[in-house]
């Protein structure tokens, strides 16, 4: 599965296909959480697909991204194999990370995917470092840091805005403002605004409709072009919404931080429907079928992949092969 073609996001069909792939992947994953094939649950990306797809449509294969706890969409849109991502979620040896990372750490360094991340905000300085390295090497690669509205209040992210700005690095900060950090409304947590903050660091910042793939793509293209030409970082705030709970765990809880009306309001703005509306007549069904087939194959691959051998539980703990002392001495 390693020599597969990278997904083509250059045209609207390709982008719709990816939106649909992410949506279908998450639905498949939700089922596997329920069945127990995925342990620990996931943070579903459903509803936010336009951001990952719109941004990645403006990137090149050698560009790099850092992602979040809610990372499947970014990882897929940047080109990761759905079967290997799903195998990772299932903790199998065929997974992107050999089953060692799981949902929150899915990475494919060969595709410039420097990892989902379990710590809010942690990806931002990593993207800054990748951008710095590219700039020093004279390459015109950019780095994208995806993060949520919650991350706007993380010190390391704010420090990263300054580093990127003061060094004029080719970084794109993409804030996916889905209105909530878990149960906390952004309105009561984020003073000022995301774009206002970025502007305070001297970073050009725009707000984009995060339910509109094309709007996201266009804004990203502008920012990325400027960054490649040495114009420094940019900040995109994508107003979006997650249709599901924060985490699959939420399904078992009775939380009331979002009203049914609010959820319905946003569901009516489904990015998939919007993208589908732009497709040529009759194309949708074919694309859907192709995606469904790909997902079926991904599921087959993932579930056929072996569980890792517990004897290798410490494999890769050190890159130099150092074996740690075991936890019990007989």
């Amino acid at each position: 599965m390693t020599d597969r073609h990278l997904p083509d996001l250059a045209d609207p069909e390709g982008r719709y296909r990816m939106l649909r792939l992410i949506r279908g992947f998450e639905q498949l994953a939700l089922g596997l959480v329920k069945s127990g094939a995925i342990t620990g649950g996931i943070h579903p990306y459903i509803g936010q697909e336009a951001v990952a797809v719109g941004v990645c449509a403006a990137l090149r294969p050698q560009d790099r991204i850092t992602s979040t706890h809610r990372g499947h969409g970014h990882v897929l849109a940047k080109g990761a194999d759905p079967g290997r991502l799903l195998a990772e979620l299932c903790g199998r040896v065929g997974g992107l990370n050999q089953g060692r990372g799981g949902s929150m750490h899915a990475a494919d360094l060969s595709l410039g995917i420097l990892g989902a991340n379990g710590i809010v905000g942690a990806g931002a300085p990593i993207a800054v470092g990748a951008a710095w390295a590219a700039r020093q090497a004279g390459e015109d690669r950019v780095a994208v840091s995806f993060f949520g509205d919650g991350a706007l209040n993380q010190g390391v992210l704010l420090e990263s805005l300054n580093l990127a700005a003061v060094w004029r690095l080719p970084v794109l900060f993409v804030c996916e403002n889905n209105g909530y950090a878990t149960t906390l409304p952004a309105a009561t947590a984020v003073a000022g605004s995301g774009t206002g903050r970025a502007a305070g660091f001297g970073i050009p910042a725009v707000e984009v409709d995060g339910m509109d793939t094309e709007a996201v793509r266009e804004a990203t293209e502008l920012a990325v072009r400027r960054a490649r030409e040495g114009g420094g970082p940019a900040f995109l705030e994508c107003r979006t919404y997650r249709f599901e709970g924060h985490h699959t765990m939420e399904r078992r809880m009775k939380l009331r931080y979002r009203s049914t009306e609010e959820i319905e309001h946003w569901r009516a703005r489904d990015p998939l429907e919007r993208a589908a509306a732009g497709l040529a007549d009759g194309r949708r069904a074919g694309l859907d079928a192709a995606v469904d087939a790909e997902l079926a194959e991904a599921e087959r691959f993932a579930l056929a992949s072996d569980h890792p051998d517990p004897a290798g539980a410490c494999d890769h703990l050190y890159a130099d092969g150092l074996r740690p002392r075991a936890g019990a001495v007989a």
Binding site: I38, T39, G40, G41, E88, G91, R92, N97, G99, R100, G101, G102, S103, M104, H105, N117, G118, I119, V120, G121, G150, A151, N153, Q154, G155, A181, T182, T183, L184, T188, A189, V190, M253, L255, Y257, H307, P308, P310, A311, G312, A313, C314, L317, Y318, P324, R325, A326, G327, A328, V329, A330
Partner: protein, 324 residues
């Protein structure tokens, strides 16, 4: 009274602490919704002035808690993940812990940090599965790991009343434990160990959820080996007198500790016992491996945690092997 769950015990301790002292307040992420359990219902009962939902700014709200403490309040912070303690190491260890000495005793910092769900939770992987209590014992922050619901209640209440910073770890693996409580819940002094089961051949010191594993092993070995199970409850300050008394009886020591091996509390217990106490055989410890990072796949995750089989084996071997 009937079955009390561990999480409910934490919840009750917080409620009682808030009720008894208006200086107490609780802060953290999603605590209004009671997402993690220990704060459930507290917002309705005490209002947003005492139960404070915070933005995702661990450093600032921990520093804010230090400032509120200097102004006379008694903050309790709930952290959603053990790794968040890494983010606030500066505020906790370098500020809160040091204020009393550095100000020449002008003030203490009565701050409590509660980590419900420390250690491994199946499927939460490398960044959510640490059990970093030994780091705080090393730094000198009072460190508590209750093993039972009544201890969870009593130790958390004492932690909140304490004039110094205290970190309370509530291991994920005990959150579901329930206890039949027929007596009045009461505070448990920090620094006091508890002998869960007396024995004469070997002392097993078990930390947190591993107390239950140790009790199971003791039961399994009953008749063959008489195992004393000692729960230190507080890792710093440690109840060394209780350990010494136990070793006077048994002379043999096994520690089971869910932190990384090197420089963990297991090391400390073995070292102090070897230096100062009666040992008739080499001591043993069961821990995570050195520098462990828990892999995601459940079987790998479990393979790195201390377990019953290893403990059984260690207890048997300690009884067989005197000093060479």
């Amino acid at each position: 009274m009937s079955k009390l769950s561990y999480t409910k015990a934490l919840n009750r301790a917080l409620g009682d602490a808030l009720a008894e002292d208006p200086a107490v307040f609780v802060l953290g992420e999603d605590i209004g919704a009671g997402l993690a359990g220990p704060t459930l219902g507290l917002l309705d009962r005490f209002g947003p002035g005492r139960v404070v939902d915070t933005p995702l700014s661990e450093q600032a709200f921990t520093g804010m808690a230090v400032g509120a403490a200097l102004a006379g309040r008694k903050p309790v912070i709930e952290f959603q993940i053990p790794a968040l303690l890494f983010l606030v190491f500066e505020q906790l260890v370098n500020q809160a812990h040091k204020f009393s000495l550095m100000t020449g005793g002008q003030t203490g910092v009565p701050l409590t940090c509660l980590v419900p769900g420390s250690g491994s939770r199946d499927g939460w992987a490398g960044q959510h599965s640490d059990h970093p209590y030994s780091l705080f014992a090393h730094a000198g922050v009072k460190t508590v790991v209750p093993a039972t619901p009544t201890d969870a209640y009593g130790l958390l209440l004492s932690a909140v009343r304490d004039p110094d910073p205290v970190v309370v770890f509530a291991p994920a693996a005990v959150l579901g434990v329930r206890e039949n409580v027929t007596w009045e819940l009461a505070p448990v002094p920090l620094g006091s160990a508890r002998v869960h089961r007396p024995g004469t051949d070997v002392t097993v010191v078990a930390v947190g959820h591993l107390v239950h594993e140790a009790l199971a092993v003791a039961e399994e070995l009953a008749g063959e080996i008489s195992v004393e199970v000692l729960d230190p409850r507080t890792l710093h300050p440690f109840d060394w007198a209780a350990l010494a008394a136990s070793l006077e009886r048994t002379g043999r020591l096994v520690v089971i500790d869910d932190s990384n091996r090197s420089c963990g509390i297991g090391a400390e217990i073995l070292a102090t016992a070897a230096e100062e106490m009666r040992l008739t055989a080499p001591p043993r410890r069961i821990t995570r491996p050195d520098g462990a990072v828990l892999p995601f796949a459940p079987a790998l995750d479990r393979a790195l945690q201390p377990g019953r089989e290893q403990l059984l084996h260690a207890v048997r071997s300690v009884v067989k092997n005197p000093w060479r």
